[in-house]
């Protein structure tokens, strides 16, 4: 298996009001291509910080992060932006979109900026529409972002994250603001994407969401306390079994 993401001795410290807050302490992790990794942990444990630091959205204080073999700390802002544009996709808990654009425009915006696929605007639009069709939201393509439901909007965010055919998708509590039905729909789509070969790393509090992943990292006080490999459990192919096993493990971890 090819390693897509590798973090070595990753540290992140915030200084607020002259007080030092070590959010990540010597975190080491690797994510292989095609994996779907969930990061879990109590509030304030550093889950989101880990996600944003390994994805280059935020600068690390110490350590090293290799994305596809590239040390992201050594990349300048421009190169990092290029990397995020072409090789990474992002999904956030709040469905952030540009409010003056339609849903479709929001989805195709990164593709219009990218030279990765060297296609015409027409081709980009067709691909955007295809993604929307696939995720079942084509009917809201020309709607404003506040004319659609939360679930539709989060699926639109998934479309946007996919538009440049990234190597890896980072999702920060992608179902956190959704009801159960929408949450299941969104996770269904992410699982499908992963099955098609896209690596996914997501942060979640939801055991149901994490149970769909191949591996779960449990983080406490800025350190990875343990990891649980769901794929090794061949007998636990049923989602409910996976949830039960994961729950048991999380209980052991102190969840």
């Amino acid at each position: 298996m090819r390693t897509v993401l590798e973090a070595k001795n990753l540290c992140k410290t915030y200084i607020v009001n002259k007080r030092q807050n070590n959010v990540l302490k010597n975190v080491n992790l690797t994510v292989e291509a095609g994996e779907m990794v969930a990061v879990m942990g109590p509030s304030g444990s550093g889950k989101s910080t880990l996600l944003y630091t390994v994805s280059g959205m935020d600068r690390m204080t110490a350590g090293e992060v290799l994305f596809d073999g590239k040390n992201i700390e050594k990349l300048n802002d421009k190169e990092l932006a290029e990397l995020r544009l072409n090789e990474m996709g992002f999904i956030f808990q709040q469905m952030y979109m540009l409010k003056n654009l339609t849903v479709l425009d929001n989805i195709i915006l990164p593709a219009c900026q990218s030279k990765k696929l060297s296609e015409s605007r027409k081709e980009t639009v067709a691909r955007g529409q295809e993604l929307m069709r696939k995720l079942g939201i084509i009917e809201v393509a020309d709607n404003d972002i506040n004319e659609v439901s939360g679930g539709q909007l989060q699926r639109a965010c998934i479309c946007r994250s996919m538009i440049n055919k990234p190597e890896m998708i980072f999702a920060d509590e992608p179902t956190g603001a959704l009801n159960r039905t929408s949450s299941d729909e969104v996770m269904e789509e992410l699982t499908k994407l992963n099955a098609e070969g896209t690596t996914v790393m997501l942060v979640t509090h939801d055991v149901k969401v994490a149970a769909r992943c191949s591996r779960v990292l449990y983080i406490v006080d800025g350190n990875i306390k343990g990891e649980y490999n769901l794929d090794r459990m061949k007998q636990a192919s049923e989602l409910r079994d996976r949830e039960r096993c994961l729950n048991n493990w999380l209980m052991e971890m102190g969840w």
Binding site: Y14, S48, T49, Y52, M57, D58, R59, D77, K78, A81, E82, L83, R84, L85, N86, M88, F90, F92, Q93, Q94, Y96, M97, L98, K99, N100, L101, T102, L104, D105, I108, L109, P110, C112, Q113, S114, R121, V125, G128, D142, D144, N146, E147, R160, N164, D172
Partner: protein
């Protein structure tokens, strides 16, 4: 609590508050200093005229046209309380020369008088009164000395009919009655002995001698009636109101600055409104929460009002402090020929500042009305109430042919018309200030203003030697003038310049309509047909016996087109039909124009306007310039020739001052545009932080974000340039027309613009300033990290 919240808010929105403070400061400074200056100049002018012992009425006569009869009439007139007389010699510029090689002795009336019978108080540079003049020395009108590039210590030689004497300029005088910019009369005051020296030749007194009568009366109309025909011998006369009017040019600059101040206030209010609305929109959560916990609307509005009250008070106090030196500086620039007496009216500045604070508070109170519209639900639902009345995104990236940067910028503008409408309005006002001043300065030195001086359109003006003009003021002056102009044309023709030469002469005559009568300056031009003069109504006189009149003159005697009036001249009374009305800035808008064939005894002529040269082969601008230079090489015997626009510039005399003010205001406009851009862009960044972070998160480079933000201002800038060009004329009508109207113009002047300045330089300066400032401000977004999208700091 208020103070704690206020302190936090002032710190959090530092840039915005500082810029707002600057605007309030500037608005206060301009309003206070301009209003104070207008009041100061007006009151100081009255004091100045009183201190100078200015009369109620002034008349000048020449010995050749008057034989002392007028003094006999004045002695017996009941309406005359008293009068003073100054004996003078009327000189032409050719009679004065200087050892200073740089000096340019300009045309226009020059008076030589002795120090024995000074009927007015002439003020020296230290504001003391001139008592006497040492033999061999001369004092001359200050601003005319400056215009003629003479300095104290220079030597001038006065030569009249072969009698010559050299004088050393001992100092300058301020002549309240004849020394205003509008009069441009140069008075030379010498020792009485030196003055008498010129009368050794007897004929000199009868040819050039004359007197100025300063008459005290409480009833000018009654006095003029009593003077009767004797008053007709006045070659020039004016009342106290006219004396004050002559300082109109000193008011122009202050008036324009007041108009600019009003625009600054409008800009300040637009910026204030934007800031308040923006702050309230940004703080809907806090407002919602305050309402949720039961704080009343009045209290919440009070919270914001305290902040704006504080800014208004601080800004007004700083503006008030700066308004004193600023006002003094403007006064020095704009009112050189008025002696300012007494204390500056400090109270006016304070009152203006208080008014600015009051207006800002009232305005702020109105703007905070929005607070009442917010509900606790807004705080809960993150500002989205679910209500929507129109589609937000009006354009589609999918369908657009624009690049992403261009699309995002254009889409933002069309999606938020109110927001960008305010930006456009602010910048349009800023650019209009610069354009209006540019057009005013250009007009005041353009030949387009010639009709406003009651002149025909021409290419060049010739300051015909005063001595020659005096030869026209004789019984056969008419023939002399015709021959003189024919000679001029022949001389020009010999040098390959086909031209028509024109000379206009003034004859002050009594004009009567029924019971009403008035002494009105009448004009007759030689070398041109009367229909070439501009009219505002009616048809040009077609034959002798028909006249054109200014509306001001016609109204003064209750006449109109179609009426027949009586004009009293030395030949007796004659009836004239008014066929047209015209306008002029000369003589406070008063005048009558005779048909060119009208027979008039030119011995009554009191003076001439500058001669005009019209090149009949319609040469281009550069050719005209070259010709004027060429003419000056062989035209010495007639007088100095200048371009028509140069003549206008000198006649208006404040063109240079307005030009300097224009420079100052253009600089200030640039600063304003830059400040507004910083304020707006910082506001946009504050509001769009999450969107910027999102763009970064999805991989948009900083450069793209900079480009997108700058492009929004660039697009607005382009619209502003177009709007400002469309609004230039209406703004000129609104701000500058009233000034010309004060000078007697009824129909607006034809404004001239410098196309390079108005269509290229100033728009580019504003556009460039906006874009550069927007770019420098948007660099701040570099601090916004992609992670901010998730609220991580």
């Amino acid at each position: 609590m208020y103070l704690r919240i206020l302190k936090k808010d002032l710190k959090r929105k530092r840039t915005m508050n500082v810029i707002l403070l600057l605007f309030i400061t500037l608005a206060t400074m301009f309003v206070a200093s301009s209003v104070n200056n207008i009041i100061s100049v007006t009151t100081a002018l009255d004091n100045y005229l009183e201190m100078a012992n200015a009369p109620d009425y002034l008349g000048t006569t020449m010995n050749k046209a008057e034989n002392g009869e007028i003094e006999t009439v004045l002695d017996g007139a009941d309406s005359v309380e008293g009068y003073r007389t100054e004996q003078v010699i009327f000189m032409a510029n050719t009679m004065v020369s200087s050892d200073n090689e740089e000096a340019e002795i300009l045309g226009g009336t020059m008076l030589l008088q002795g120090d024995a019978d000074m009927a007015l108080n002439y003020f020296l540079a230290d504001n003391s009164v001139l008592k006497d003049v040492a033999p061999g020395e001369v004092y001359m009108t200050g601003h005319m000395m400056e215009k003629q590039k003479l300095s104290v210590g220079d030597r001038v030689t006065i030569t009249i009919e072969g009698v010559s004497k050299e004088f050393r300029i001992a100092g300058t005088i301020n002549d309240a009655v004849l020394g205003s910019n509008a009069m441009s009369i140069t008075r030379y005051i010498v020792d009485e002995g030196d003055y008498s020296f010129f009368f050794e030749k007897e004929e000199l007194s009868s040819m050039y001698g004359g007197k100025i009568l300063y008459i005290e009366t409480t009833d000018i109309d009654a006095m003029l009636t009593e003077l009767g025909e004797a008053g007709g011998s006045f070659m020039f006369s004016m009342d106290r109101a006219y004396m004050r009017f002559c300082y109109i040019f000193d008011m122009i600059v202050t008036g324009i600055l007041l108009a600019v101040s009003v625009l600054f206030i409008v800009i300040s209010f637009v910026v204030l409104r934007f800031t308040i609305t923006f702050t309230l929109t940004e703080e809907f959560r806090e407002i919602g929460v305050m309402k949720a916990i039961g704080i009343k609307n009045r209290k919440i509005r009070g919270l914001y009002l305290v902040k704006y009250a504080l800014l208004a008070v601080i800004g007004a106090v700083i503006g008030l402090v700066f308004s004193y030196p600023f006002g003094t500086m403007l006064m020095k620039v704009s009112s050189k020929s008025v002696i300012l007496t007494g204390e500056n009216a400090y109270g006016v500045n304070i009152l203006c500042s208080v008014a600015v604070v009051a207006v800002i508070l009232l305005f702020s109170y109105g703007c905070t009305r929005k607070v009442t519209g917010y509900t606790p639900v807004d705080a809960i639902r993150n500002g989205q109430t679910g209500e929507r009345f129109r589609k937000k995104s009006l354009m589609s990236l999918a369908k657009s042919k624009l690049g992403t940067t261009g699309f995002l910028a254009t889409n933002d503008i069309v999606s938020s018309p109110k927001r960008y409408g305010i930006v456009t309005l602010t910048f349009t006002l800023c650019l209009c200030i610069a354009l209006v001043l540019s057009a005013t300065a250009t007009t005041l030195k353009s030949d387009k203003l010639l009709p406003a001086f009651d002149m025909v359109e021409c290419h060049a003006m010739v300051a015909i030697n005063g001595g020659d003009v005096m030869t026209f003021m004789t019984e056969d002056g008419r023939t002399v003038l015709r021959n003189y102009l024919a000679e001029m044309e022949e001389t020009l023709s010999e040098h390959g310049i086909p031209a028509t030469c024109v000379q206009d002469l003034m004859i002050p005559l009594t004009v009567r309509n029924g019971e009403k009568e008035s002494q009105i300056p009448c004009f007759q031009a030689t070398g041109v047909k009367i229909d070439q003069f501009a009219r505002i109504e009616g048809t040009a006189p077609e034959a002798p016996g028909e006249i054109a009149m200014t509306r001001t003159a016609a109204e003064s005697i209750g006449a109109d087109i179609g009426d027949t009036v009586v004009i009293v001249s030395m030949e007796g009374e004659r009836e004239y039909l008014i066929t047209a009305l015209y306008q002029t800035m000369n003589n406070r808008g008063s005048g009558v124009r005779f048909h060119e064939e009208e027979e008039i005894n030119y011995i009554q002529v009191s003076g001439g306007m500058s001669g005009q040269i019209i090149f009949t082969d319609n040469p281009g601008k550069n050719e005209v310039k070259e010709r004027v230079e060429k003419i000056n090489t062989f035209f010495g015997e007639y007088g100095e020739v200048v371009l028509a626009e140069q003549w206008v510039k000198e006649a208006v005399s404040v063109a240079d001052t307005i030009n300097a003010i224009k420079g100052l205001m253009t600089g200030l406009t640039i600063v304003l545009v830059a400040l507004v851009t910083v304020l707006l862009e910082r506001s946009f960044i504050a509001k769009e932080t999450k969107e910027i972070a999102l763009m970064k998160a999805i991989g948009l480079k900083n450069g793209k974000i900079y480009g997108y933000h700058v492009a929004r201002f660039a697009l607005v800038g382009v619209v502003v340039v177009l709007f400002a060009q469309l609004l230039l004329r209406p703004f000129l009508r609104l701000c500058v027309d009233p000034i010309f109207k004060m000078m007697g113009m009824e129909v607006a002047v034809d404004y001239a613009v410098n196309p390079v300045e108005v269509y290229v330089v100033l728009p580019l300066v504003v556009l460039g300033t906006t874009m550069v400032t927007a770019f420098l401000t948007v660099l701040y977004t570099k601090k916004i990290k992609a992670a901010h999208v998730a609220g991580l700091e």
